[in-house]
């Protein structure tokens, strides 16, 4: 990448492997199609259009790229879930709702390299046979929506979208659809409901797996922005070559977004699993603030279970069980899962010893209480209860039994809801209680009666905390 100049102060770290973010913060780069075409833009779409659609899917499968939105499901495999005897139209939706706290990667792709996304989408649409695709973009990216619409118009004008693309007979229209500020629209079935013009209440699976019954009850592929960008690079490199990036079963690159208590927060595109948590925090992010100690790390967006500073994990490596310290965890999907958390959306939130765990958990609980769609009782009620209990803790009004209650509320949500929001909202509480119980207990007030079952007391306490 010696030929690329980046804006002063925005140069990638030496350990980065810039592929998706190649053009982010690049000097002289802009969002026009002219700039994109100068660097071989849309060549991969042209190449893909000469292949059989099935062969394109095969390359993506061989690449082993796992979804970058949070679940980490293999993208190529997802595409093959469209029923083979399908006669209905197929749709593709790009999930650009980027709303998991701690995650800020899609923002830069959309705002600085929109054509990369459109090219990736067009290739994916060709592979799955979609002639109509939507980019579901969060409402809080108004500028991003305009940039994408301009880019789509440019691509259409140059014959990369529209009817009979590049004379191949393949038709495709892409439209931008703006959300309206609801986190739940990042859940793929909630997103589909929203795109149908309804409240984004997630659908139950089975039967509503989008690949079989998605938008308008037709087969629908929903992929994250970053995942769709990878498709372009997979076609460029070939699936086998791509799979050499990263580590086995954790292939390719991914963008890690670091925020919180580090010297230099930011985004870093690295080969999956080739950088450890310690290298990320202490080297790439310039370490913690002076005199501070690492207290906790949320490794994959706010829903990922927190890891405690100094924690040692017993994980399987080959046939042996080995001890791995927090700092030695490679930033991949499988190791983070083995450590009881997840790589999620790549949003790493670093928390140092100046922070109160009650305050951190309360902030997250307030988020989930606000964002629960309200469809399932355990989540609607439980998320609010968790917020109210931590409200009390922060206000110094927590009862001695509150931490057990908090844990019990969380465990009554997890696994009892239509969508994964139930896990997303209960995992932070479960993990913080498991790993920081002493500190949370220390924040309760022994003088407060254990009367949380009493609605009046609860309301009074919640008012106190406001």
């Amino acid at each position: 990448m010696a030929d690329i100049n980046y804006l002063p102060g925005k140069e990638p770290h030496a350990r980065e492997h810039r592929m998706i973010f190649r053009n982010v913060d690049r000097a002289g780069w802009d969002t026009s199609i002219a700039t994109y075409l100068k660097e071989g833009g849309y060549e991969q779409l042209k190449a893909a259009l000469k292949m059989e659609p099935k062969a394109v899917t095969e390359e993506v499968k061989k690449a082993g790229v796992r979804g970058r939105g949070g679940a980490g499901f293999p993208a190529g495999l997802k595409w093959t879930f469209i029923p083979p005897n399908n006669t209905k139209p197929v749709y593709l939706i790009c999930n650009a709702d980027e709303s998991e706290p701690g995650t800020f990667k899609d923002r830069y792709i959309i705002h600085q390299d929109p054509h990369q996304l459109i090219e990736g989408m067009a290739i994916a649409c060709f592979a799955v046979g979609a002639k109509l695709a939507y980019i579901y973009i969060r409402e809080e990216f108004p500028e991003g929506a305009k940039i994408l619409e301009k880019a789509i118009a440019e691509a259409r004008e140059k014959g990369f979208l529209g009817k009979n693309i590049q004379g191949t007979g393949f038709d495709l229209e892409i439209y931008v659809h703006r959300g309206a500020g609801a986190y739940i629209c990042g859940e793929e079935t909630g997103l589909i409901e929203s795109l149908e013009g309804k409240r984004p209440y997630p659908r139950i699976k089975p039967p509503y797996f989008p690949a079989a019954m998605g938008l308008y009850l037709c087969p629908t592929i929903v992929n994250n922005v970053e995942t769709l960008c990878h498709v372009k690079h997979i076609i460029q490199m070939g699936g086998d070559e791509y799979a050499k990036l990263g580590t086995p079963n954790n292939t390719g690159t991914r963008i890690l977004c670091v925020s919180g208590d580090v010297q230099k927060p930011g985004y870093f595109e690295v080969q999956v699993g080739k950088v450890t948590m310690g290298e990320l925090i202490h080297d790439m992010c310039g370490g913690l603030k002076p005199g501070r100690k690492l207290k906790a790390v949320i490794p994959g967006g706010s829903s990922a279970k927190v890891l405690r500073g100094g924690e040692v994990f017993k994980i399987k490596r080959g046939d042996a069980m080995v001890d791995v310290s927090l700092e030695d965890i490679p930033m991949d999907f499988d190791t983070l899962a083995a450590c009881g958390s997840m790589a999620g959306s790549g949003g790493v939130i670093v928390i140092d010893d100046s922070r109160s765990i009650s305050w951190v958990l309360n902030n997250l609980n307030a988020f989930y209480a606000h964002e629960s769609c309200g469809q399932c009782t355990p989540c609607r009620e439980g998320s609010l209860w968790m917020k109210k209990i931590t409200d009390r803790l922060v206000a110094g009004q927590g009862a001695p039994g509150d931490i057990d209650t908090l844990d019990s509320v969380a465990r009554q949500i997890d696994g009892r809801t239509i969508c994964a929001f139930g896990e997303a909202c209960s995992w932070p509480t479960e993990a913080f209680v498991a790993k920081f119980r002493d500190e949370l207990v220390a924040d309760t007030n022994p003088g407060t009666a254990d009367a949380i079952v009493n609605r009046e007391t609860l309301l009074a306490a919640a008012n106190l905390a406001q």
Binding site: E140, R178, A180, E196, G197, P265, S302
Partner: protein, 174 residues
Amino acid sequence: MILKANFSVMALEIPSTLEQEIDERITHYPVSKRSAVLPVLHALQHHFGYISEEAVEWTAKKLDLLPIKVLEVVTFYPGFRQYAPGKYHIRVCRTLSCAMAGSFDLMDSLCQAAKIDRSGVNHHHPIAVSEDGKYSIEFAECLASCGTGPVCMVNDDFHEKVEDAAALLGQYRD
């Protein structure tokens, strides 16, 4: 000052350019016109500042829906308002990374600089407006720029690493 839903507005006057824009948006959904609820509401809110009862009815008529099918969308999404915000509507990110970077202090100093009293806000009425109606403010959940907190939006403009509330408001005086 906390604004509550206010439906006593004049009859909706939709300029022809706005209606053309809306009609064009509807063509993006060849399978189901209902899908255009969000884009139509966005266009109306952008023009009028909020979604009035008349706007709900107009949207319903435009898309051949019962008004309740539109209203249920308006009341669900935090991005739609049923009352007029200030000329400059500020959204401050409240979520963890920005909170750690000082977004609660930013909220306080913005309120002070814009002379906004937030004491009456709650889940159903999250927006507070300055007495002169020029500024309004609310907390928003994660604006997806956690590495550059505290962040906020003023209307459609995005601002990162906001430290000086008065300087920010200074860009939005007229």
